[in-house]
């Protein structure tokens, strides 16, 4: 089990996708890019759920993936709308410009 876990390339792909997303999420300043990074992480997880579902010979995971993609689509619509409004407010989508919640 452990050997096959380490040799299965899907694990590395998912880890790579997630790490790229996480890194972009933490260091990029452009709100649009951050949103894209979040999507990348989400889809890395989706991919992993699908893989595990196949490995367990169960359809439930696949249903969950399709469901998650659907919700993500709606969520992206909301996210883009927020970014649009941020741009309207400050003519910029640089997240460091928005520090109104500073304590």
């Amino acid at each position: 089990m452990t050997v096959s876990f380490l040799t299965n390339w899907v694990h590395y792909l998912v880890a790579a996708l997630f790490s790229v997303g996480l890194l972009g999420f933490l260091i990029r300043k452009n709100a649009l890019v951050i949103l894209m990074s979040i999507e990348l992480m989400l889809n890395a997880v989706n991919l992993y759920v699908a893989k595990v579902s196949l490995a367990l010979h169960s359809g439930a995971g696949l249903v969950l993936v399709v469901f998650a993609i659907t919700v993500a689509a709606a969520e992206v619509a909301v996210g883009l709308a927020i970014i649009l409004n941020l741009y309207r407010a400050k003519r910029s989508v640089d997240v460091d410009m928005f520090t109104g919640l500073k304590g």
Binding site: F25, L26, D96, K102, G103
Partner: protein
């Protein structure tokens, strides 16, 4: 019948509540009527109770539960026996007369309602004190009269001097009361009860009681009495208490409240009988106080201060009698003193009233002709207190002095000091009378006789001062039986004379002679020549004029260090230590808060970083056993 006992003090309590709390818009006249009515009502109840006691010879008791803890069962217990009878009749009787007098005296005051409320409250507390059948109920009354004394001394509270006098009385009494409480606690420990009858039975049984314990109880209780009855060293409050209205001085600070200490010692007489050292201490303190205060009274110029020191001196004599074991004589003097001293104070009040507030005898003189009623009653009382036969003071003082001589605890020393007191009393009272009523008028007011409302109580108390002696005529005379002694027989220990150094007749002649000498000396010194008044007396008189500097001594020893301590608190401990700690707390909170606000940068990605780090930490922690 037994339900009447609590009603005795509930009536004045109701009067106090009505005047003080309920009917707050009452006119002065109506308030005075309520006050008088409550007092007279209480007197009527006392009379009917007395009739019953005299008829049956049995004490009337009433009690209800109060505190029951473990093996102690403390009760609201009241008893109306022959001893209480004397005190209760005296308190309500003289109290009623003084209520009547106050209507006239306080007529122009705007605090009449408050005044009568306090006066009624005092009566209620005093009646609780004399009817209580255990030390704890007595203590409730004891503190109640102390409170009323404080309230009434500072009655005219707009003057700082008066409120200060009130506080002085209260604080000095606290000192005594602390010891009194300790005495009660010790009683509870030793006897397991504070009821007079239970304690008496135990003392009479004397099974396992250590004499040392009894001595301590006697001593501690007496220290309480020292405060209440103004004995050395706690007498300093009584002269200052004269700041209150004069009827108050007459009722509380001469006739009734200050005798509470003597009442208590007589009630506990069964204990002092078997505690000879404590009893001797009582006698010696009484004799010393009597001498000490009498010397001061000889040179004072404020008419009320003279009477105040005289009261202290007479209280000393009463303690002397109680200390040598003659409780009946002590009680006898309490009663006669209540009459003549109340009369003297009321007379002084009448004079002060007539002279629009003048209290210095320098501004008096020659009032005999303009104030005949006041003069005659005052004169009778002066003769009574000086011990001129056949007035009341002669018999009571003679009985005290004679028992001092014959008692086992007495002796020549105590007798001679009592004799000296008796001579000085005659001297300063005559001096006061001469300077006030004889000679020519030295003031500038227009004196006038007081209204009948005020002179009626004067006549009534003077009558008591004149004929009060029949209560207890010497036994050898066989004229009338020893009424008072027979009445309270069995309620206080019987006086047992140890021997006769002098026959009673000779002692009586000596006592009277000394008294007459005092009178003659005062007449010669102050009556025959034009009196001279000096504000800065020279020589040994300075010592007396300044009252032995006792107040100044207490100032240096107690007041000044206490002031220093409070100053230390005010200047160092409060602002530096306590405020410092509070400020430190607030500063620490502030600093801590500002440190935490750094995290709230408002930058989303900083939050995200923390979140990721947190998630990572949780994952690592959860999976710590896997790898």
């Amino acid at each position: 019948m037994s339900e009447l006992v609590p009603i005795l003090f509930l009536i004045p309590l109701l009067g106090a509540a009505l005047n003080g709390l309920v009917l707050t818009r009452l006119s002065s006249k109506a308030a005075a009527k309520i006050g008088l009515l409550a007092s007279v009502g209480s007197f009527a109840v006392a009379l009917s109770l007395s009739m019953e006691v005299l008829k049956t010879g049995q004490a009337i008791q009433w009690e209800t539960s109060w505190i029951a803890i473990g093996r102690w069962d403390l009760r609201w217990g009241f008893v109306f026996d022959q001893f209480t009878l004397v005190m209760a009749l005296m308190v309500t009787g003289i109290g009623s007369l003084i209520h009547l007098y106050s209507i006239g005296y306080m007529a122009h005051d705007d605090g009449v309602r408050r005044f009568f409320s306090y006066l009624n409250l005092f009566l209620a507390a005093m009646l609780v004190l004399v009817t209580g059948d255990n030390l704890l109920v007595l203590f409730v009354g004891w503190e109640g009269v102390g409170l009323c004394s404080y309230l009434l001394i500072g009655f005219w509270f707009k003057e700082l001097k008066n409120t200060a006098a009130g506080m002085k009385a209260f604080i000095v009494n606290r000192v005594g009361d602390a010891a009194f409480l300790l005495g009660i606690f010790l009683c509870l420990k030793i006897f397991g009860s504070v009821s007079f009858s239970a304690m008496q039975t135990l003392v009479a049984g004397k099974n396992s009681l250590g004499v040392a314990d009894l001595e301590w109880i006697g001593l501690l209780l007496f220290i309480g009495a020292m405060g209440k009855s103004a004995q050395i060293p706690l007498f300093v409050w009584l002269p200052d208490a004269m700041a209150g209205p004069t009827p108050v001085s007459a009722l509380i600070h001469a006739a009734t409240m200050v005798t509470a200490g003597i009442y208590m010692v007589c009630r506990m007489g069964f204990l002092y009988q078997v505690a000879p050292h404590a009893a001797h201490f009582v006698a010696v303190t009484g004799a010393m106080t009597a001498l000490f205060a009498a010397t001061i009274a000889c040179v004072q110029r404020d008419i009320k201060k003279v009477l105040a020191y005289s009261t202290i001196s007479q209280l000393g004599l009463m303690f002397l009698a109680a200390g040598v074991g003659n409780y009946a004589a002590s009680l006898f003097h309490v009663v006669t003193h209540a009459f003549f001293k109340a009369c003297l104070f009321l007379g002084a009040g009448s004079v002060i009233h007539a002279l629009s507030g003048e209290q210095d005898i320098k501004g008096m003189g020659g009032l005999r002709s303009v104030m005949p009623s006041t003069f005659i009653t005052f004169f009778v009382s002066v003769l009574a207190i000086s011990g001129v036969p056949p007035l009341a003071g002669f018999f009571s003082k003679d009985e005290i002095l004679y028992s001092t001589l014959t008692s086992e605890g007495g002796g020549w020393g105590l007798w001679i000091s009592g004799l000296a007191v008796s001579g000085m009393t005659a001297f300063y009272m005559t001096r006061l009378c001469v300077l006030t009523f004889f000679g020519r008028y030295r003031g500038h007011a227009h004196p006038h006789e007081s209204p009948p409302l005020m002179t009626i109580p004067l006549w009534a108390t003077a009558l008591g001062a004149a004929v009060g002696g029949v209560l207890s005529l010497p036994r050898d005379w066989h004229l009338a039986p020893d009424l008072l002694g027979r009445l309270i027989h069995g309620r206080v220990p019987e006086f047992a004379a140890a021997g006769e150094a002098l026959s009673e007749g000779v002692a009586m002649i000596v006592t009277t002679g000394v008294g007459l000498a005092g009178i003659i000396l005062a007449v010669v010194v102050y009556g025959l020549v034009e009196p001279k008044f000096s504000d800065n007396p020279r020589g040994p008189k300075t010592v007396l004029w300044n009252k032995y500097w006792v107040d100044e001594l207490y100032d240096v020893v107690f007041v000044a260090p206490f002031r220093g301590l409070t100053r230390l608190c005010a200047v160092v401990i409060d602002p530096k230590v306590i405020d410092g700690f509070v400020i430190l707390c607030s500063r620490a909170t502030g600093v801590g808060g500002s440190m935490v606000t750094v995290l709230q940068s408002g930058r989303v990605q900083a939050y995200l970083l923390v979140m990721v780090a947190g998630a990572l930490a949780i994952i690592l922690w959860l999976g710590r056993g896997v790898a």
